[in-house]
């Protein structure tokens, strides 16, 4: 929610004149006007990060594509949210995510409820055109109730953000660079030995893939419930 003093700016999204608060992102402005921009790392109720690059849009005067989630609107801005060029890059983003991990939809707890899987369909990915990396990643089932399967992690950082910003525990973080980057619990120790984890399960439910799941779930059974998040954030803001 923007402060009362916020100025209203006008801009063009896909040729349509729209108005938005000056503090709004392009993504927020687009959504308010019914323009769909695909996202993966973005989640209502968490801070924006710009990690997945799926929301890239074109802007008049900029040779680069810009992420709609972290780019603020400004007066006279002209944004294009869908074009052949954008579609190509979005497909590429998804293909690279599939190639970089080990995503075997058919045997995944999140099959049929996975944001990565449905996004592949949304962006029209027919196959992965780069060679698969088949990285050797681990599964940590040391926690009493939850499992983290790093094979399915796309490093969206939703777990890191929800644990820090909402639960206030900051059990999750990230270590390593490039393809070696991974989410860790506490000092890169087994999740079950974490001193800070409250076992609240928020990380499990914001995870867009089957990377974080409840131990009772088998193939296709992991349904994620995350509608609580925007309300939680909103209620806290109102108290302040």
């Amino acid at each position: 929610m923007s402060p009362m003093t916020a100025q209203v700016v006008t801009l063009k999204i896909d040729g349509q004149d729209v108005s938005a608060h000056e503090n709004d992102s392009i993504l927020t402005a687009a959504r308010e006007h019914g323009v769909f921009i695909p996202t993966l790392c973005n989640l209502d109720g968490l801070t924006t990060l710009g990690a997945c690059r799926l929301c890239l849009v074109e802007m008049a005067g900029s040779p680069k594509l810009l992420p709609a989630c972290t780019t603020k609107v400004s007066e006279g801005m002209e944004v294009v949210t869908s074009s052949e060029r954008i579609a190509k890059y979005r497909r590429m983003v998804i293909e690279l995510l599939f190639a970089e991990g080990n995503h075997i939809c058919a045997v995944c707890v999140s099959n049929g409820h996975c944001e990565l899987q449905s996004m592949a369909q949304t962006v029209g990915m027919t196959h992965v055109s780069v060679p698969y990396l088949y990285p050797k990643r681990t599964v940590d089932a040391s926690h009493e109730r939850f499992t983290v399967d790093h094979n399915r992690c796309i490093l969206c950082m939703r777990c890191v953000r929800v644990c820090d910003e909402i639960e206030g525990a900051h059990t999750w973080d990230v270590m390593g660079r490039g393809t070696a980057a991974k989410v860790i619990t506490d000092m890169n120790q087994p999740w079950g030995t974490s001193d800070t984890c409250t076992s609240c399960g928020k990380c499990v439910h914001v995870c867009p893939t089957g990377s974080l799941f409840e131990k009772t779930a088998s193939v296709s059974e992991m349904l994620k419930r995350r509608h609580f998040l925007p309300y939680l954030t909103m209620m806290r803001e109102e108290v302040e």
Binding site: A106, T126, P131, R137
Partner: protein
């Protein structure tokens, strides 16, 4: 009108895509008036014909046998279809890719074997280090994801191809479907 020559082939997969093919049930009778199945695990001929119009490929490329088959098939096929997740993504077969071939064979033929604890050395084709999706080995013309793709999806793909169109299956199937 001459019939469309169709082949189907089974590489590294579970045969589930072929089962789904058979699940077209009574529609197979109607298809048979337009299509000749000239080569398939479901029919008799043992040699791949000179030229076929459409080949449906189930399974990933895992061994020297798969590799030799797919090269020959590509050479003698007009439209090559990757049918199902194993062909399109390498799917479950590629789960062994994080281990060496020696580790995989040891697991299957030594650790889990009741008798004759030794990997086979004769007749059985040699496994490759990595299982690959079909399009990493030869050019693929149509991708049909799904594990397996439904009978409806396969029926749609075939009827579109028979009509001379390249099918777009994005709306009716997906990875893991």
């Amino acid at each position: 009108m001459s019939k469309v020559k169709v082949a189907t082939v089974w590489l590294d997969g579970c045969s589930g895509c072929h089962m789904s093919f058979l699940d077209m049930d009574e529609r197979l009778v109607e298809l048979a008036t337009k299509v000749d199945i000239v080569y398939s695990p479901l029919v008799d001929p043992k040699n791949f014909p000179d030229m076929v119009d459409v080949t449906l490929v189930e399974g990933a490329v895992s061994s020297t046998d798969d590799f030799n088959k797919i090269l020959k098939i590509r050479e003698h096929t007009k439209i090559l279809v990757s049918l199902g997740d194993c062909a399109v993504t390498s799917n479950v077969p590629c789960m062994r890719n994080v281990y060496s071939v020696e580790e995989v064979l040891d697991r299957a033929y030594v650790q889990n074997a009741a008798v004759g604890k030794k990997p086979p050395t004769k007749i059985v084709p040699k496994l490759f280090d990595k299982v690959r999706p079909v399009h990493e080995v030869v050019k693929v013309d149509v991708f049909v994801p799904g594990c397996p793709p439904s009978a409806d999806t396969i029926h749609f793909v075939l009827t579109e191809l028979i009509a001379g169109r390249i099918p777009d299956t994005n709306a009716i199937t997906r990875f893991g479907a």
